[in-house]
Homo-oligomer: 195 residues x 4
DNA sequence: CATGAATGAGCTTTCATTCAT
DNA sequence: CATGAATGAAAGCTCATTCAT
């Protein structure tokens, strides 16, 4: 069980995530110590295992994302605009903290065993989208679709495109990328037969 | 460099993938040996490193998928139907060989460093979709969209929804799941304002 | 060097010895702290090392035994009776404080390096016996034997039989056990050929 | 579970025991490796833990002692002579392999947790003595005493005196020491009142 | 060709000990 | 005086890899 982590230590760790290699098993505790400036033994004073540090990093990152997404929404705006804002915020976060985002993606194998991670992903990615899809379907501003499926599809598409952009361009422009994804999900690929 | 792997050994290994834990670094060579019945030293006679075994497994799985996707397409059918067939084939493959699919997803960190993996993913997932999107846009059976972006979006959506189905239901019905995804991409979430 | 240890702390520690595993190296300072209720850092305020705590425990136990043995002797009694009283007192002490006795035996390896321990063992076990053996030989109430050898033999026999009784019966009846050992040393195993 | 240890490796280890410090916890696996010339990883190929190596050393030493004691007995001799031979053989073994003997004594704490050790001690020390005491009592060549108690007493006395001799003189003359112990046990300390 | 035996190179984790308060 | 927080210094053990047969 981890002790409550002091804020300065948490900051050091989060600021450090970018220096850590993608595959967590290739990161040595000494790497974490060096990169963060926190001695190994001190890390073990606060965390009971290396994996718990990964869990801490990913959880904190998802909490930040959850907050950023919540802050991006304007409750008075129309549902489609709010949905667009959510997707844009998610992409902006990926662009701002690419390391932790890639850390999550690259360690899905371990992440699957870390408790609470699924809840964090749900809170940061799925839940906001699912909620808006349901609201939009209810008030007619969106076509009724299975919110669960659609939210998961959006999550997959947004994440994969975002990471691809990071890998290829080494950079992510949230406005540009959301401007590419959103129309696709908005109108679909059906040929426009309307006059 | 790996020697040419004898077919029976390849079969043993592929049949074995399901028993191997998700995170490759948590799989010991002894685990691979036990699960496949191939002695450790013999594995090293055919592969030069543990990671090469992972690469072999993933490459073979993607080749199978590429073949399955190619076989599913009817060159005489309409583009939207061919696109649907491709997605359905990808999902069917996920359902049939969940272990290797999960192995790929769970080891994106290591996979990123394995040469040829990106090419395999492209051949199995992206290229068929991208080609059909371009063809459809050309002959008017699909709305013109950036094929790169749309193919990546479909890849992300299909993969994530497929894996989600596997994790939650421990099973994947390709027809059902493609029946959920395809309409979403076909029509989008825009409210249907047409009379 | 250890500060003078406050009596309540000494009592806590001595009362605690029973909870500490037999092999001192397997006892963590945290175990001592938990069992005694004395915080780790406080232990280090009074003792300069973990081994010094062991030394303290063993020394105190031997002092108690030395006192108990001295108190058991009646200077006016016959030498053989005094010798019997000494052995009985040693066994009674083993029965009363089995933990520390076992601690001593189980850590002979470390104890050998602890200064003053040998002196304590001598004072508690050897010296009283040796003295009486010499006195008895001098006044004819005991057969003349090498007091050094005989005292050591008695020490070994008494200790081993006492510990064996503790381990097997989880209990030690000093009267019963001394009633078994003393005749053996008194008469030996020579067949009684006298009429 | 330990693999069957190859004879040359066993020999190296046994020959090495003398260089290892008394308290097993103070011996590092690297010390064992250096002293024996067997690499650490190879030790772990044959033993599953450091304690298992201790157990192996002690068990083998006790087996050797058991054999030596059995060989020392002349089945045709009188019981008292056979008993004397047993004690002399035990002391001779202590003198010949002082390191392993001290290893056993110094690690009684850990030894208590090592399975089969008690059986080995019984076979090497107690059983031969107990058997002879019973035989002697039966045919009248020894005084009837509780064989269990007397055997334990002899074990304690012989071991402690033997080790004391080793520690003090750094050497053990089996004939001399048995010449000191045996008369004590033979005649006891009762004053000789016979004419 | 195949493999049992052997090992070099590390890594996580532990824990006695210190020190600022 | 007493102690919670912090850490330096190992140590046991693992495992990918090699190689003689």
């Amino acid at each position: 069980m981890s002790r409550s982590v002091p804020a300065p230590m948490a900051d050091k760790l989060l600021a450090t995530a970018g220096e850590l290699a993608l595959s967590w098993d290739e990161v040595r505790t000494e790497d974490i110590a060096e990169a963060s400036g926190i001695p190994r033994a001190t890390l073990y004073y606060y965390f009971s295992s290396k994996d718990e540090i990964l869990q801490f990093l990913l959880t904190r990152m998802l909490e930040r994302l959850t907050d950023a997404v919540a802050a991006a929404e304007d409750p008075d705006a129309a549902i489609p605009d709010r949905l667009a804002a959510v997707v844009r915020a998610q992409l902006a976060h990926l662009g701002e903290f690419p390391a932790t985002a890639q850390l999550l993606t690259a360690n899905l194998g371990k992440a699957g065993k870390l408790p609470d991670l699924a809840a964090g992903i749900n809170a940061a990615f799925h839940e906001p989208v699912r909620r808006l899809l349901a609201l939009g379907a209810a008030n007619g501003t969106l076509r009724p679709v299975d919110p669960e499926i659609a939210a998961t599809a959006l999550y997959g598409a947004v994440t994969v495109i975002g990471l691809r952009s990071l890998v290829i361009d080494n950079h992510l422009d949230a406005d540009e990328v959301s401007g590419q994804i959103l129309p696709l999900f908005w109108s679909g690929i059906r040929p426009d037969v309307r006059p």
